[in-house]
Symmetry: C2
Subunit: 305 residues, 2 copies
């Protein structure tokens, strides 16, 4: 067993990445391929990536973990509404397990990224992985383990409605935090022709409109981080998703917001948010987290239930 590998797969909207890790969680090798659309293509691609890593490693395969965008029924690995990969409904865990003849765990992409972040940003205790991309949601690690919420809902802070002036959310509510603090929200708020990926400190200095849009968005992200710390009680917040590409630019701006809040409120100051908030997670977070699914719930192997 100890020389076996675990393989983690992250099925993203653009690329599907895979890693193989050893018993200590060290990444041994990785590969990737452009994401394919539709159930059959997704299954074939994942099987091909797994086979390549297994053959290349020459070691026994202990299990496969998969992160996928969409609603995932844990622990059965039933995926629904994964529109980014053209999948409406797929028993991904069971299908893969049969094809690969190995235990397979499937969870949503935010949860597996949270598991990976907890490994990459060690420190024990708890962690909230704030996924700032198309939407806004958090994966939650408590005492080292993924907390899935009693009914599968947890970290859905994007749909805490806070400001009616922000308009109607696709979820139907008015003023969800997602309308203010997601990556999509930033893209909408920036002046025409400016994309979030093009933001630089120079551009923020030169354009008042860009600065205004960016600052309002950063305040939203800061609110999301504060909400995770205050309500869920996590020790650290890691900002990931597309927005993490802004790196230091976002981190420095978040610290400015936290510092301003701390000047007003000794209570907020006591939380020391700047020391507990990180931005910019390597690409490998989600794949590593997916591989860690294999160890996190051996008793929930769907094939043995």
């Amino acid at each position: 067993m100890s020389d076996g590998i675990r393989i983690g797969i992250d099925i993203g909207g653009t690329s599907t990445r895979a890693v193989a890790i050893d018993a200590e969680g060290t990444v041994l090798m990785e590969n990737q391929f452009a994401t394919l659309q539709g159930a059959d293509a997704v299954l074939s691609l994942v099987c091909a990536l797994v086979a390549e890593l297994r053959d290349r490693s020459g070691r026994p395969l202990l299990g496969v973990g998969v992160g996928v965008p969409g609603v995932v029924e844990w622990p059965d690995g039933l995926v629904a509404h994964a529109v980014n990969i053209g999948v409406e409904r797929l028993a991904l865990g069971r299908e893969l397990s049969e094809r690969l003849d190995t235990p397979v765990w499937v969870d949503n992409d935010v949860n597996v990224a949270a598991l990976g972040a907890a490994r990459i940003y060690p420190g024990g205790g708890s962690l909230g992985f704030l996924n700032v991309g198309t939407g806004l949601a958090a994966g939650v690690i408590l005492e080292g383990a993924l907390w899935r919420g009693t009914r599968g809902v947890v970290g859905e802070i994007g749909h805490v409605a806070i400001d009616p002036a922000a308009g109607r959310c696709p979820c139907g509510q008015m003023g969800c935090l997602e309308l203010i603090a997601s990556g999509s929200a930033l893209a909408r708020a920036l002046p025409r022709g400016v994309t979030p990926g093009a933001l630089t400190s120079r551009l923020l200095l030169d354009s008042a409109d860009v600065r205004t849009a960016f600052d309002a968005w950063v305040r939203g992200v800061a609110m999301a981080a504060r909400m995770l710390v205050l309500s869920v009680g996590v020790d650290r917040v890691v900002v990931g998703g597309g927005a993490a590409a802004l790196g230091t630019l976002l981190h420095d701006a978040l610290v400015d917001v936290f510092d301003a809040w701390s000047k007003e409120s000794p209570f907020i100051a006591s939380l020391r948010l700047p020391d507990r908030t990180f931005v910019g997670v390597p690409d490998r977070t989600a794949t590593l987290g997916a591989a860690l699914l294999v160890e996190s719930a051996p008793e929930l192997h769907p094939r043995e239930r």
Copy 2:
């Protein structure tokens, strides 16, 4: 051991209540006394209540749990800023343990009430106890155990700042939810001469001003419950604290708010908040929860550390 009792004490602003429970958690007997002010008086009163129950039961005492308003350092039982009982700083756990010659656990009143609520409203999984009184804060039970947050902060949803128009919070921030949804907020918002305790469905029908103030407050409480479900992922929310005295009046109004939100949002409808929200916890919640502290953390007995 199995015929031993555990005693739970809830030190409230007005009265200090105690219960003795058996190994199964059944309440065997109870007593109470008007709360006394100051460290020496508090210690003496708790010792007297414990001694009376122990003597009356004629059984061995396995341990004592205490809930106290204020900041409590877990698991050492150091109490700070318990202004309601005239205590600025007191090593309550250690002092009681020495005087009573028995293991003592101390936690804050909201946490112990959450433990009690999880026993009174069974159903497994997780629960948020929303304390709506002078302030607004929640105790959180996850998988049957009290979740204290990695740094002792959790369920502090009263200090999620959501509406600058609500003014400055004593914590220093603008627009904290506590300014809208606490019992104090309701008292401030009601017309002069009307207290929260005097609210009836008749009065709500007769006075538009009363109705407006009440409805705005109920929306705030509903927001707090929704935030607990969305962010922390609790299965059930139990509304306690002074506001729970409103009972059905509050529960029906909360359900109306949830129903309105559900009409707008299939996502919120899918949470089925009306089925998961309870109001009106018996007096015994906090004392029972305090007694359950004794079993919840035997490894953390301060005298043995």
